[in-house]
Each structure stands twice: as C-alpha cells, then as structure tokens.
Subunit: 240 residues, 2 copies
C-alpha cells in the first residue's frame, strides 16, 4: 500500500507500460524488504509479509529474488551501490587509530580507512550483517549475491593495491624481499596482495560477527580489527 520507493531506479523514461510496471514492482519489493528487514530483522520477516507490504502476490517476490537470502542480497546491493555513488571522498578513517603507531604502520592506516564504511554499516545493521557476511563467504552462487560480491571484489582490489604499495615501504617486514627471491614458481606479482586482501575481508567479517555474538563493545572491536590488519600487513613476527 505505501509506496515509499527511494534508493534508486526511477522508472521514468520511455519504456513500455510493461517494463515500467516491472520496475515499479521491483522498487516496491525492494523498499518493502528493506523496511521489514530493518525493523523486524531477517529471520522474523516472512516472504508473505514482504509480498503484502509490496502489494504483490507471494509468487511475484520470488520472480525478483529466487530466495529469501537473495532478497536480502538485493537490498544490500542497492544500499552498497547507493553508498558507492554517494561517496567520492572516502570517509576519513572513522576508526583508524589516531595516535598509537602500530606494527602495520601507515599502510595499515590506509587499509583501515577502506574498510571503515563496511565496519560502520555492519555495526548499524548487526543482525542483518551477520547474514550478509555469512552469505558473502559461503553462499550459493546466485545473481544478487554475485552483484554484492562484485562490490566486495572492488573493495578487495583497493585493499590489494594498498598492500602492494606498502610492500615497498619500510613498514613492511623484510622490506628487501621485493620481487626477487622467495615464493613459489612464477605467478602474477599481485597474487599475494590479492590473497592478503581476501584474508583481511574474511577476517573482518568473521571478527565482526564474533564480537557481535560475544557482545564486545565497539572500542575493543576496533582494536581487534586494527590488529588483524597489522597482522596481514606486517606479519605475526612484527605485531605486538
């Protein structure tokens, strides 16, 4: 009944009645899902509630998202996309420790900066975030999830780039190790950085959930996350 569409996709333009109706329906479903997930949580929202709120039949919802989890991913994709569009200037390190120099050094700061929005978002929607994290890492391959993964991939690429930068710096352990020596056979140079980025993301998702379950307050979570980044940047040998 209530069409509080927002977020995105104005139907507008020159489209057939059919396409327009579809876009509208999609928007209604998205809005209904988002609202209900936010106010009642993921588990306690039923698909039929979403359908009712979006004023469509239950089966219709499944045409736009094949699964309840996919519906969640659809919402996340929309939110993430909106955030990306709105953010030219990346929010200045909301939690990168201001004073205290840590083993990871500046590179770690620059990475903390990158994941800061993710951390903030996951704190804000902690119940949903647990589901999202779970599905990002272990979900089945489906279209809406794929789109969320694309966002994650982009984030990981940025992290990898900064890891790569840091490698040349003094901060990185065995700074001399550069390209030569070590390592398994011939691989692309960025492979380690990419692995590091994936490791950081997986670690952050797991650690955020862990602290949620243990009800650890935000302050300490920051410390934990920061240490996690330091570990990847500088290794256990260096981290305090």
């Amino acid at each position: 009944m209530d069409t509080r569409d927002d977020t995105e996709l104005a139907p507008s333009a020159t489209l057939g009645r059919r396409e327009r109706a579809k876009a509208e329906k999609r928007a209604r479903i998205l809005a209904a899902a988002r609202a209900l997930f936010e106010e009642r949580g993921f588990e306690r929202t039923s698909m039929s509630e979403v359908a009712r709120a979006a004023d469509v039949a239950e089966g219709t919802v499944f045409q736009y998202a094949a699964t309840k989890v996919e519906l969640l991913m659809m919402v996340v994709d929309a939110l993430w996309g909106a955030h990306e569009r709105a953010t030219t200037t990346p929010s200045l390190s909301a939690f990168a420790a201001p004073g205290a120099a840590t083993a990871g050094g500046e590179t770690a700061d620059r990475i903390a900066e990158l994941i800061s929005p993710l951390v903030t978002a996951m704190r804000r929607w902690s119940e949903l975030a647990a589901w999202v994290a779970r599905e990002i890492l272990f979900g089945a391959d489906m279209p809406h999830r794929r789109r969320v993964l694309d966002h994650v991939d982009r984030l990981e690429e940025k992290i990898a780039a900064r890891l790569q930068d840091g490698r040349a710096d003094a901060s990185g352990a065995i700074g001399a190790a550069r390209d030569g020596a070590t390592g398994t056979a011939g691989e692309e140079p960025g492979a380690a950085a990419a692995a590091g980025a994936r490791l950081i993301v997986a670690g952050v998702l797991a650690e955020l959930n862990r602290s949620r379950q243990r009800r650890i307050d935000g302050e300490n979570v920051d410390v934990v996350l920061r240490r996690l980044i330091d570990l990847v940047v500088a290794g256990a040998g260096a981290a305090r």
Copy 2:
C-alpha cells in the same frame, strides 16, 4: 536430558536400562545422520529420513539435536573427536610444500602441518564442509556447535603457540620487535598470536570454500593456503 560426556559409541558399562537405551538411540541417530549426510549431502537429507533410518520418531531426533545444523555438528564433533583420539603423532605435513622455501619459513611449515588434517577432511566432505565452515564462523550458539568450536579453539591454540615461537626466530619480520615497543597499550602477550590463529582458521575455511565453488584443483589450493599462512606469519611486506 543431556548425558554429559560419552562422545559416542559403546553403551557398555553398568547403566540403567533407560540410560542404555538412550545411548543406543543416540548412536543410531548419529550413525544414520552421518551415513545420510555423506551419501546424499546435507541439504538433500531430511530430518524424517534420518529418523526413519535411525528407527525413531521424528521428534526424537530433535531431542538429541535441536536443529538440523546441530545434528550436523553432532556428527562433526564425533568425527573430529575420533580423529583426535586416533592421532598421537600428528600426520606429517600432508601438504606443507616440501622443497620451496617461502617467506613464512619454518614457522609456516609447522602451522601448515597443524591444519593439514582439517584441509584433508574438508576436501573429502566438501559439500558438508561448506556447511560446517559456515556454521563454525557464523552459526548460533548451541551445544553441539559449541563442542565443535572447542575443537577449533584447541587447534587455534596450537597455531597461536607456533606463531608465538616463530616470533623470536629470524623468519618473522622485524624480528627485533620482540616484546618491547610498538602496539596498543598493555595486553596479554599472546593476544596477537591468538588473533593470528583465528585469522588463519577463518582464512582457511573461507579459502577452501572459495576454491570448492570455483572448482580449483587441489594442487593450487595448497599454494593458496600456504600463501595465506605465510601472510600471517611474515606479513604482506615479505610474502612474494
């Protein structure tokens, strides 16, 4: 309700008829669940099938495992426990790269050794493993899961210990950093090692699942996991 220890098989000993019947039922359910999960997979096995195979009513299964996932965790706990009991000598690094020296050095080898059985097990039961990994990292707190987590915790402690050892060695980056200097305020010295261990476990679980979904062959997975460990041991600065 819950008869503490037992862990599994052999009702044996002097117990009331009731206790014995309970243990037998538990064993039957465990065996049925394991067999069905193995041959048909987790999702495609229904609770009523398990009940039928174990020759108990459906409701009875739920008395021993409050949830389908809990039933899976019950199976995993039993398997893991059996493995632990059977293993005095830890299986010599099934996948720790034999030749090639990597950035992580010997410490990484010693850690690879520790997670090797986990990797082997997850490869063997890849479909189930995905569910297990997912529940270990993101599941709700329930008794059988808790027991599995205890196993994970023990593994993490061992990993942490080896990380700690490695810290003094030359292999660890900035070997000099020892205890003094750096880091956030006063914390237990093992905190970083513990965090590193958790990071490795989370990373391995995620990476194994990732390669399962992308159908990457075992060889390459070994390389990826090895690199992951190297990263935590020596940091991105060092890793090739």
